[in-house]
């Protein structure tokens, strides 16, 4: 072997020695294709199911790949791509992700495969139209018993829940409000009626005196 050939072989070996590990670190060079199927429309508060298929350049499915479903959303002073769900592809390269839909309007869904040593990254986009209205999160705390489940008549349920702004009462309303606490009202009225009886008896003692004198 001539020196030039030997040098070339060493150079090639060195190149491969450096290049191959580098290549291994970077995303793979194999092209992948991601397809996404979303329901055309979704209702607010329902679960939307997204079906994603990941295949390589030859159309073969890629299993065990992590797919992220994101959407660009804004909240207060920030915005960005929000990861809504994630799923892993099965043997057929199909991943099914679901998430509950909380923002109405047009949702620009993007499925993202970040790529790995072998495969390149890829993504796919789709649009979901979310319609609907209505409050989804209702806070609940305490026990709701039949007959006691209306605040402020509730006794065992907490005295104040998110819907009620308890305490904004005045005068007669406060009296009615108090009476809606019927156990307390009944107890108080019972005892005070006894007091009224006694006061009545006192008046009769006085009257009996007048009779005796008359």
């Amino acid at each position: 072997m001539s020196t030039r050939t030997f040098a070339g072989a060493v150079l090639l070996a060195l190149l491969l020695l450096v290049a191959l590990p580098l290549a291994a670190l970077a995303a793979g060079s194999e092209r992948t294709t991601l397809t996404i199927a979303v329901p055309p429309g979704a209702s607010l508060g329902q679960v939307a199911v997204v079906r994603v298929t990941l295949s390589d350049a030859t159309g073969q499915p890629i299993p065990k790949a992590t797919i992220l479903i994101t959407a660009p959303l804004s909240f207060l002073e920030a915005s960005g791509d929000v990861v809504l769900a994630d799923a892993t592809t099965d043997a057929k390269g199909v991943a099914i992700a679901d998430f509950d839909v909380r923002t109405e309007g047009t949702l620009a869904i993007k499925a993202v495969f970040a790529g790995d040593e072998r495969y390149a990254a890829s993504s796919a986009s789709a649009t979901v139209n979310v319609a609907g209205d209505g409050q989804l999160y209702v806070q609940a705390a305490g026990v709701q018993l039949p007959g006691f489940d209306r605040s402020p008549g509730a006794i065992l349920a907490p005295a104040n829940n998110a819907q009620a702004n308890v305490g904004v009462l005045s005068g007669l309303a406060a009296l009615w409000h108090a009476l809606s606490g019927w156990p307390i009202a009944v107890a108080l009225m019972t005892i005070w009626s006894f007091y009224a009886t006694v006061v009545g008896l006192l008046f009769r003692i006085g009257a009996a005196a007048n009779e005796a004198e008359a």
Binding site: L76, R102, T103, A141
Partner: protein, 287 residues
């Protein structure tokens, strides 16, 4: 809620930024009708997530905790009130963790349950507020709160000059009224204006996320996350869950490891109230 934009007024009067910690933290009062908070009339359900993996008590910054500092400056909280207070709690084994603790905004609030005049109440958004003009100062709520988050105006707190230009509202508690109770209010006027609360803005590590359980989103100012997923994936917990107060504030366990803190490095700088030094004759008391 009428009121001049404080920042606008200050600019006009040429009052320096000394009285306000950072320009970005000036409270803005908007007319409620002009800036509806939620899409399509759905009410927001405010919540907070505090990522303790990123809280080191501002040890790396070398200052008193910035969340508390921002809150104090933004609200002119009188000394010694720390509406968000960074507790240093011991960990199992050796070391401590820092837990910035705002009002937990409970959904079964013990304070609201016991108030005899309804001075403290829950808004439909789930925020617990105090009407300082109705409070009779009986302090039953302070006895009932299991998180040490309510503060009483034992003496007369100094009045910040800005308070003269502010209309009273339970949504911003300034000036402090002697003989009444105050606490963290989740900055409702900030939220309505599309801003984060002072504490979330002030955190240098972006550890405080402010979110909406209705739209299921939260943000710390840089990233937006899906709240329910964020909580589940990071094993978020609530304080004193067994008490059944159902707080809206959740914590992701940690000790500041994501910002390079080792649990055995203890101690933080004590909180200060710089605005109070600017007011002549300022007096305070100990908690």
């Amino acid at each position: 809620m009428k009121g001049l934009s404080r920042r606008g007024l200050l600019t006009r009067l040429g009052i320096g930024a000394g009285a306000v910690a950072a320009a970005g933290l000036a409270p803005i009062h908007f007319d409620a009708a002009a800036a509806p908070a939620a899409p399509s009339g759905r009410l927001r359900r405010w919540a907070m997530v505090i990522d303790l993996r990123r809280c080191d008590g501002c040890q790396s910054v070398g200052t008193p905790p910035q969340c508390t500092a921002a809150c104090i400056q933004g609200h002119f909280a009188p000394e010694p009130m720390e509406w968000i207070q960074v507790y240093e709690a011991p960990l199992e084994g050796r070391g401590t963790q820092f837990i910035p603790t705002p009002c937990q905004q409970c959904q079964n609030p013990p304070c609201v349950n016991v108030c005899p005049v309804g001075a403290t109440f829950s808004t439909p958004e789930g925020t617990v507020l105090i009407d300082q003009q109705r409070c009779i100062g009986c302090r039953l709520c302070m006895e009932a709160c299991p998180y040490d988050r309510r503060f009483f105006n034992w003496g007369t707190a100094p009045i910040p000059p800005e308070a003269m230009f502010m209309d009273y509202s339970p949504e911003h508690q300034s000036p402090a009224i002697r003989g009444t109770v105050m606490k963290c209010d989740f900055c409702p006027d900030m939220a309505r204006a599309g801003r984060l609360p002072y504490c979330a803005q002030g955190c240098p590590n972006r550890a405080i996320y402010y979110g909406d359980l209705e739209e299921d989103l939260a943000t710390n100012g840089t990233e937006v996350v899906k709240l329910s997923r964020f909580l589940a994936e990071n094993n978020a917990v609530r304080l004193k869950e067994e008490l059944g107060t159902e707080p809206r504030v959740r914590f992701i366990p940690g000790h500041g490891e994501q910002v390079g803190r080792r649990p055995t490095v203890t101690g933080r700088k004590p909180t200060v109230w710089p605005w109070q030094k600017l007011v002549q004759g300022a007096t305070s008391w100990k908690r």
